[in-house]
């Protein structure tokens, strides 16, 4: 419009202003009840449906968008969890590659899901909704044109009514004028008057016709489109939710499979670890002291809070055999220290058979182990208990100081070669109860003691 010229724009502006004034005028008249308003109840119902439909569609679109956002969040959270596991995973654990592959597949699955819903459901919804603004504009235009039509109608009607009155009004003065007019002008004035009135009348008639045509054109279009659109909504909803449900079903089925796979890997990993634990005797850890005792097998911290899943307390070192430690010598395993877990059985049987070798002098008497346990369930198994019948002053760092009456728990030598005739290796019972370790063992002359 601007290209044509200022004059035309100004003209157009003027027309628009005029239009608006007329409409406003008409509306006021209608409101005041001075002019009747064309009402189309049926059409109004259609418009109501239209608005409802647009509202429904808009809500659906909003919900879909929110859902997709949640899907993305879920995907991210899921991936972060998976990363935690992957970072923890050591290469020698069962199923490292499967797990990595699983993580990839899961990731892809989420992306596909998000994509397909965006492409199908959301985009269809967007396209569906895009037609509404246009129709809404046309409905509004129809309304305006209807007002124009009414206005033209009223104008014409009033002209019609007023025509007769006007004619009567100007008749007398016109007649007088006629009489006064020269003979050549006779009849011209009245003719002119008639022509004038006829002109405005015709104009109004023409305007009316035009307004009617414009209105009807719009009206007819909309009357066809709106019901059809309203009916189509069912199809749209069906499509949307069918497509959504379809994708969801597929996604959930696949994810279920992947989850199952992950579960299998985890189960097998647990089994593997359990097997490893029971196989290895040495539990790798920094070697603490030279002659210190076994790694504690205090079970895991109280796991009663792990409710739903039976989290089995790992049997870390549930075998009775000790972790290797300096100074003991695995072969001479004749004593066992336990912490309330583990069984003693098989090892001890093996050990028992070795007793005769060690205890050359006393082959038969030491088939039973004596168990010393304190309140904390720490147990020391020893072969023999002796009681000192005489004081003995240790003359060397390796010797055990004895006072008459001390109860001594006899233990095995670290190295049988070290054993001198007549000497035993032992630990004072009092010391055991206090310290619960065998660090203070020492050798002592057997003849200073007596068996109990």
């Amino acid at each position: 419009m601007a290209e044509i010229g200022k004059g035309v724009t100004a003209g157009k502006l003027a027309i628009n202003v005029q239009k608006r004034l007329t409409r406003a005028q008409e509306k006021v008249l209608q409101k005041l009840g001075k002019a009747d308003e064309t009402r189309d109840v049926v059409f109004e119902e259609m418009v109501a449906n239209f608005n409802k439909q647009m509202g429904e569609g808009t809500k659906l679109q909003k919900d879909l968008k929110a859902y997709l956002a949640a899907v993305k969040t879920m995907h991210d959270a899921s991936r972060r969890l998976q990363d935690c596991l992957a970072d923890m995973y050591e290469p020698d654990w069962f199923g490292k590659e499967e797990m990595d592959a699983l993580a990839e597949d899961t990731d892809t699955m989420w992306l596909d899901y998000h994509q397909s819903i965006t492409d199908k459901s959301l985009q269809d919804m967007d396209m569906y909704l895009s037609q509404f603004p246009d129709i809404k504009a046309r409905i509004a235009k129809r309304d305006r044109k209807l007002v124009d039509f009414d206005s033209a109608r009223h104008h014409f009607t009033s002209l019609q009514k007023g025509k007769k009155k006007d004619e009567a009004k100007i008749a007398k003065p016109a007649a007088l004028l006629e009489m006064a007019a020269p003979s050549w002008a006779q009849g011209l004035i009245s003719a002119h008057q008639v022509a004038q009135t006829n002109l405005s009348y015709n104009q109004a008639e023409e305007d009316l016709g035009r307004a009617q045509k414009i209105f009807e054109e719009l009206n007819v279009e909309l009357q066809d489109e709106l019901p059809a659109l309203w009916d189509r909504r069912v199809g749209v909803y069906v499509n949307t939710f069918q497509s959504l449900a379809g994708h969801q079903e597929k996604f959930h089925k696949e994810m279920s499979k992947l989850s199952e796979n992950l579960n299998d890997i985890m189960t097998k990993l647990e089994e593997q670890r359990q097997i490893n634990q029971s196989n290895t005797q040495s539990y790798s850890q920094p070697g603490w002291d030279e002659a210190e005792t076994a790694v504690g097998e205090e079970g895991w911290i109280d796991d009663t809070d792990y409710e739903a899943q039976p989290y089995t307390e790992p049997n870390w070192d549930n075998d009775g055999a000790n972790v290797e430690q300096g100074g003991w010598g695995d072969d001479q395993y004749t004593q066992v220290e336990l912490d309330g877990l583990g069984q003693v059985g098989p090892q001890l049987d093996a050990e028992k058979s070795r007793i005769p070798q060690i205890w050359g002098k006393h082959p038969k008497n030491f088939t039973d182990f004596i168990c010393k346990s304190d309140v904390n369930e720490k147990r020391l198994f020893c072969f023999l208990q002796v009681k000192a019948v005489h004081d003995y002053a240790a003359t060397d760092g390796d010797e055990l100081e004895l006072k008459m009456g001390d109860v001594v728990l006899v233990l095995a030598f670290d190295n049988p070669d070290e054993q001198d005739d007549g000497w035993l290796m032992g630990l004072k019972e009092s010391h055991w109860f206090q310290k619960k370790d065998i660090s203070a063992k020492g050798v002592f002359p057997e003849n200073f003691t007596q068996r109990v």
């Binding site: 064309t38 009916d231 409710e307 870390w316």
Partner: protein
Amino acid sequence: MAENKMGPNLQAGAGIFAKRVQKSLNRAQEKVLQKLGKTMETKDEQFELCSQNLNKQQIDGSRLFKDVKAYYAAVKGMHETSKRLSQTLSDIYESDWDGVKDLAVITESEDLLWNDYEEKINDQLVRTMENYTSQFPEVKERVAKRGRKLVDYDSARHHLEALQGAKKKDEAKIAKAEEEFNKAQNVFEEINNELREELPVLHQSRIGCYVTVFENISNLRDVFYKEMSGLNRELYNVMKKLETQHSGKAFIIKGLNRCVDPGSKTCRTPALEAWG
């Protein structure tokens, strides 16, 4: 092994010890103390490794806890938006459409399923991680305490060494220093032994924790997804029924049909009639 002879009976121990000092050389004692010092140093280096493991374990645990919580929140988000979609569908569903009742049942079932899923995640995952991570502060505190007791032990040892090495030996002071030394040693050894046993176990337990968490979550997901896919299929079928019911209507979203025929019946406007 001489130091181990200083058992519970401090008097006797001190007596023997004093005899030792008289009997053997002071140097021997000093050497022992120095050797002990070296051992302690080595022990402490080894402990340092454990301490580092502990810290890493705590950090990893916190991370997993955070991610588990985020996962839980995300699940709730999915539930919420999914529910809204279902609700909207219910709202727009006319009462005379096929499958109204089925839809209601499906919506209800989905909601229950989501709730169940959420609840189980909270119980089996969030709480598990909560318990797991809650144990670290206490352990770290004890590690710190051990450190302090070690310092005490070291200083008591140095003090004793110094007294031992002095030209003029004050037996009374030495005896007292020995007593303090023993005490410091006992206190330290006690906490050291405890931690020495517990820390490796704690460290190993992380694997169990992770395995538990991921076993649980994969199991929960498996069940949830299976059930949910069944409900999805049902909704799909309801939609199919609805489609059949309205099969007369056009479904394609294309350009609208335009009817511009002024001569046709539909173009007659009531306004004209009113005007007459």
